[in-house]
Symmetry: C2
Subunit: 318 residues, 2 copies
Amino acid sequence: MRKLTMKDIAILSDVSQSTVSRVLSNHPHVKKEVREKVLKCIEENEFLPDINAKIMRGESAKILGFVSAGFENPYYLEMVGYVEKEARKRGYSIIVMNSEDDELIEKYHFKELLTRHVDGIICAPVSLKNLRFLKKNKCPFIVLNENIEWTDSFYTVLSIGGIQVAKYFKDKKFKKVAYIGEEKSEKYKGFLKEINSENKINNIEDNITFNLGKNLREIISKKVNKLNLSCEAFFFSSDTIAFIFLEEAKKIGIDLRDKELVAFDNTLISKVLQISSVEQPMELLAEKGVNLLLEKITKDIKLDEIYNVGLYPKLIIR
Amino acid sequence: MRKLTMKDIAILSDVSQSTVSRVLSNHPHVKKEVREKVLKCIEENEFLPDINAKIMRGESAKILGFVSAGFENPYYLEMVGYVEKEARKRGYSIIVMNSEDDELIEKYHFKELLTRHVDGIICAPVSLKNLRFLKKNKCPFIVLNENIEWTDSFYTVLSIGGIQVAKYFKDKKFKKVAYIGEEKSEKYKGFLKEINSENKINNIEDNITFNLGKNLREIISKKVNKLNLSCEAFFFSSDTIAFIFLEEAKKIGIDLRDKELVAFDNTLISKVLQISSVEQPMELLAEKGVNLLLEKITKDIKLDEIYNVGLYPKLIIR
DNA sequence: TTGTAAGCGTTATCAT
DNA sequence: ATGATAACGCTTACAA
């Protein structure tokens, strides 16, 4: 059974197709009786206009793309929820794509979204090159959770998280502390800086750092024996790392639960583990990001101003 | 700057627009040199064809809708990941929507998806009425994680999970056991049935049941004092419930960690809590579901056969 | 082998 | 107040 079109409704209600269109778009010059007759017919037949035809006519597709580098981290999946919610509030749908940390897949997705005439793209990107591709194609987009100078980005100021943890360790007067996690991270930099600042009271006796990779557990299990147990406090660069590290430590007979533990992300993991964690303002980031994007799309003013919005994380003590 | 169209490419490469179209769709009757000339021009200008025009011509939109009743349960967000992956494998994109357990929002989403001419819909539905609406509109769809007799559904056989737990409790020779969770659930039914079967060796001394609601924690905190501490084993109807229950119990000074605890869903929660849990085969469900849907869409044979596929869960002991 | 033209379902511009 | 018609970007039947 073919889908109903305006033409069908026109025939059924004995008017021209353009009148049906006028009724649907609340055009003023339609006789009341005619409008009612047509509306009744539309109701009865549950007619749904074809958005693709509208898009072809130049109307907004009312749809955004959300392209994430990956979904392994529950964190990005959470983002999907927030982005969807925010977009929906404003009457937009979202196409969700996973680029699996692969530049080519990401490019493929971006192309696909351009073909579909999305109004804009929200992304946690893999490749700057691909972002430039979007720019070249005049496709509005924002970057979530990474600070890219030359384009609109909404991100957590990770260094502040590190500083917060360091301050907390100082307050607690821990003499020996440890950092465990990503080598090149603003979290670590902030932590280091604050620990070594003027009112220095403690030392990082242990820093077990590594680069994130596919098999995180393996990477960690190799490092776990390097633990310096004289440390009183441990700062993990993510909840996931904290979780795996604790498990691996347990395997070799080390229980860290009586130490002061602080992780990062404040996901379900740290909630369940009941350890402190630095919370990233994901919902707010998504909210602000989607809003700016839609602002730029709908108002298309100030299209030349770049917004780099860094939000502060918050240490949640448990 | 306007988006490039086939017409532009045609002018640039000095051929007709239909020749460009033929080149792009690998039509056989195109002279080799012409094809190369056109392809070069397409390359150089990074031309992307407009999919909406194709859809209007009757081509498949190559897009599916995923409508979930809600995303509070991390479980459904996980589904997004699996569905996206499976759809992508087959060259389809997905539009993700949250109906927030609301019949009207769900209807709204379904209409929206029909308007967009999606090829099909995957849903964890709120309302049977809305599913009938889809059916009436001849929109192919499958139901994920609920068994609805009259339509294609892919779900976990929850009662089997309950039975598995009961058997486990029997094996362990626990005399007094408890069920804590959803009142009306196949999990509970299966559990009860097996506990009370021929080779009965134990009793359910405690069953704290309730209906799920918005404020789960509140519901649970009211029930937690009813705990029968003489029970040796507890079966929680979900990981989330187990987590909240344990927390609330702790608040009133009860530590259940030395009891035998089994939850349901085997999400990150039970992994982190290190308690046993019944795993639902989410990935497989998504995989099978999306595949059947696409099968029905592309082959459109056997459109009258209904597939109700129940997969068994698996008790993970920790 | 290639070009011309119709048509997909809308909206908007003209007439009437 | 309403109807006819062009146009959006594409595919395809038909003509050349």
